[in-house]
């Protein structure tokens, strides 16, 4: 079911600049994501990777530049607009709803798909109940997919880190996104967990045909997961291309060896 790697551009970021007060997080960054690919964004700490994602899904508003997503160009949008546009997102330090069970967290991810309004939900009868059942079914498929049956009803606060990451991925998948942004999906995981997570990412990409952009520090992972890699350093894109091309790039090597800037 994998989406054919057409060269169709799904997301185009043009000359984005972002600054907090004096700090220039991003300087004139231009890059794109093709439909159906797994796109990695790497770079030393503080290179502006996360800021880039935040700009893409509308949490930060760039000072300059424009974002074209699925053919629509806009300088700034609200996060929930991005979500409605089909952009899902996970966070570097898990951002789950601590007070809710794993199941409810993922169910919350269905919000955009819910059709029945307040009154129906209040009556929770007929169509409303049917819809709730439908969503539950979709969510259970995701739970099955991520192999978290055993912790379905556990409050996420009590889950170990690795599982929280999975639940968060589940919540993002529940949105049935076209573009999935993963911010260090494997940070702080042990080898086994990393292997699982990589498997999930590949399966998501092939099974649901979801386009994926991920930030990751583990080079090994990045290199065998991603189709194309963009390298940021101090808010500037210093390299972009296939894993092999990037590996060879002098600029990248310097950036990682921390040669003078």
């Amino acid at each position: 079911m994998r989406a054919p790697d057409t060269n169709e551009i799904m997301l185009q970021v043009d000359g984005i600049a972002l600054a907090f007060g004096g700090v220039r997080a991003l300087r004139d960054v231009t890059f794109n994501i093709r439909r159906g690919e797994i796109r990695a964004i790497i770079g030393p700490n503080g290179a502006g990777k996360t800021s880039l994602l935040n700009v893409v899904n509308g949490f930060y508003h760039p000072n300059h530049g424009a974002i074209t997503f699925k053919g629509r160009t806009r300088a700034r949008m609200q996060p929930f607009e991005a979500a409605r546009g089909g952009i899902a997102r996970t966070f570097q330090n898990v951002a789950l709803f601590k007070g809710m069970s794993a199941l409810d967290n993922i169910m919350a991810g269905r919000t955009l798909k819910v059709r029945r309004g307040l009154l129906w939900q209040m009556l929770r009868y007929g169509p409303a109940l049917a819809e709730e059942r439908e969503h539950r079914h979709r969510v259970e498929e995701i739970i099955d997919f991520l192999e978290i049956e055993a912790i379905r009803k556990v409050p996420v606060g009590r889950l170990p880190y690795g599982l929280q990451k999975r639940v968060e991925l589940g919540r993002a998948l529940a949105m049935e996104p076209d573009l999935l942004l993963l911010d260090e999906p494997m940070a702080g995981m042990n080898l086994e967990e990393k292997e699982d997570m990589s498997r999930f990412i590949i399966d998501v990409n092939s099974h649901y045909g979801t386009t994926i952009a991920l930030i990751e520090h583990d080079m090994a992972v990045v290199m065998d997961l991603s189709d194309r890699v963009a390298v940021l350093d101090h808010g500037i894109k210093i390299a972009d291309g296939t894993p092999d091309e990037v590996k060879k790039s002098q600029a990248v090597i310097e950036a990682y060896l921390g040669v003078a800037h």
């Binding site: 899904n57 996060p79 601590k98 809710m100 919350a108 209040m122 929770r124 709730e132 539950r136």
Partner: protein, 375 residues
């Protein structure tokens, strides 16, 4: 220990998502409802112990039911959506006075325009529900700031509502139909011909309201909207990034909450007090409701009932117990003791068990389910 769950398996999502998925719980609930709807009225009508006098009904059950309802409303806003509110009392007042106006006929003269809007008196039921709607409307109005401001700031916004309406109902004679004393009397409680008079009837009326609205509220909080509220409460940024519109989530929370509180207010005025003054809905009421919610359990419908019961029973105990022991306390001392007890209890719970009695209860229940194992 009492639970026998082996063999209770779910073959549909409907079963799995039921409010009480465990059979033993359903039985317990059924018994409870049986007592509430049949037992109590029977005993009360024949004045069997403990219903020798109407004290139990008047002083405990009626206020318990109505305040529990108000607490549910408050809990939806504070407990589920995480928007602090010190104005619940005001919204009860809005419910009460709107219902009063609608039940007694509204007349707004626009002298300078040379005409007047006037609505004939509406039936009690309609007035109560519309009163709730009115409260919901105002709720939305005062909820708008919550889109730009968070927590503490919102507290002040709601305080503004509280103080403003305290004042409005006290000083604007139009609301009280120009009653000289400022105190107003509820209309006859006429529901499609059958008139509610005796305490038992009043009790049943409230019970009905509370049961229905509790079910509806519970449905909401366990549906998508409820999850949106909790998402906003737990991490509003993440919530927005999965497509939850803060505007919609927060305002619905304000609306629903205010509606329930408003209806409770109307019931409080019409069914319980009969005749009342703005004082009945002062900031003390708001804080009382907030306490019920904190003590009972933030984010728990059941907790709202527990909290309400607790808040009502403590003073009575303070009154009863010493008297029994032969050292009666002055009403003042009792009030002061209440203050101290509630205050310290709030602090204690916030420190030790932020989810209140409801959490303690559910922990106990878990223990019973796993008995004899500790976990």
């Amino acid at each position: 220990m009492l639970y026998r769950e082996a063999g209770q398996f779910k073959t549909t999502y409907a079963e799995d998502m039921a409010i009480f998925p465990i059979r033993q719980d359903r039985i317990a609930l059924a018994i409870l409802l049986g007592i509430a709807f049949i037992g109590v009225p029977l005993l009360a009508t024949f004045h069997v112990w403990p219903f020798g006098s109407d004290y139990l009904l008047w002083a405990i059950l009626l206020p318990f039911l109505i305040l529990a309802l108000a607490a549910i409303g408050t809990n939806i806003l504070v407990g589920y959506c995480g928007q602090i509110s010190l104005g619940s009392g005001a919204f009860m007042a809005i419910g009460a006075y709107s219902a009063y106006k609608l039940a007694t006929g509204v007349h707004i003269p626009f002298a300078w325009l040379g005409f007047a809007i006037s609505i004939p008196p509406l039936p009690v039921l309609a007035s109560i529900l519309l009163g709730g709607l009115m409260a919901a409307g105002v709720g939305i109005l005062f909820g708008i700031p919550s889109l730009r401001i968070k927590g503490l700031y919102l507290a002040v916004a709601t305080l503004a509502a509280q103080f403003f309406f305290d004042w409005a109902f006290l000083r604007i004679p139009w609301f009280t139909n120009y009653a000289p004393s400022g105190s107003v009397n509820a209309p006859a409680l006429d529901f499609f011909g059958l008139v509610v008079r005796t305490p038992v009837e009043r009790y049943l009326l409230c019970l009905l309201f509370v049961t229905v609205m509790t079910v509806l509220a519970k449905n909401l909080v366990r549906s998508n909207l409820g999850r949106q509220w909790m998402a906003i409460r737990d991490m509003d940024i993440a919530a927005e990034l999965i497509g939850i519109r803060p505007l919609y989530a927060k305002l619905t929370a304000f609306a629903v909450s205010s509606f329930i509180v408003g209806v409770a207010g109307a019931l409080w005025a019409f069914v319980y007090l009969g005749s009342w003054e703005p004082l009945a809905f002062s900031i003390d009421r708001s804080l009382q409701l907030l306490f019920m919610v904190i003590i009972g359990g933030l984010g728990s419908i059941m907790g709202s009932f527990v909290g309400a019961a607790f808040i009502l029973i403590v003073p009575i105990m303070l009154n009863l117990v010493p008297t029994e022991l032969g050292v009666p306390l002055s009403t003042q001392t009792i009030t002061h003791l209440e203050f101290i007890i509630f205050g310290s209890l709030i602090c204690y719970l916030l420190i030790k068990e932020p989810h209140g009695f409801a959490r303690l209860i559910s922990i106990g229940k878990e223990k019973l389910r796993l008995w004899p194992f500790p976990y």
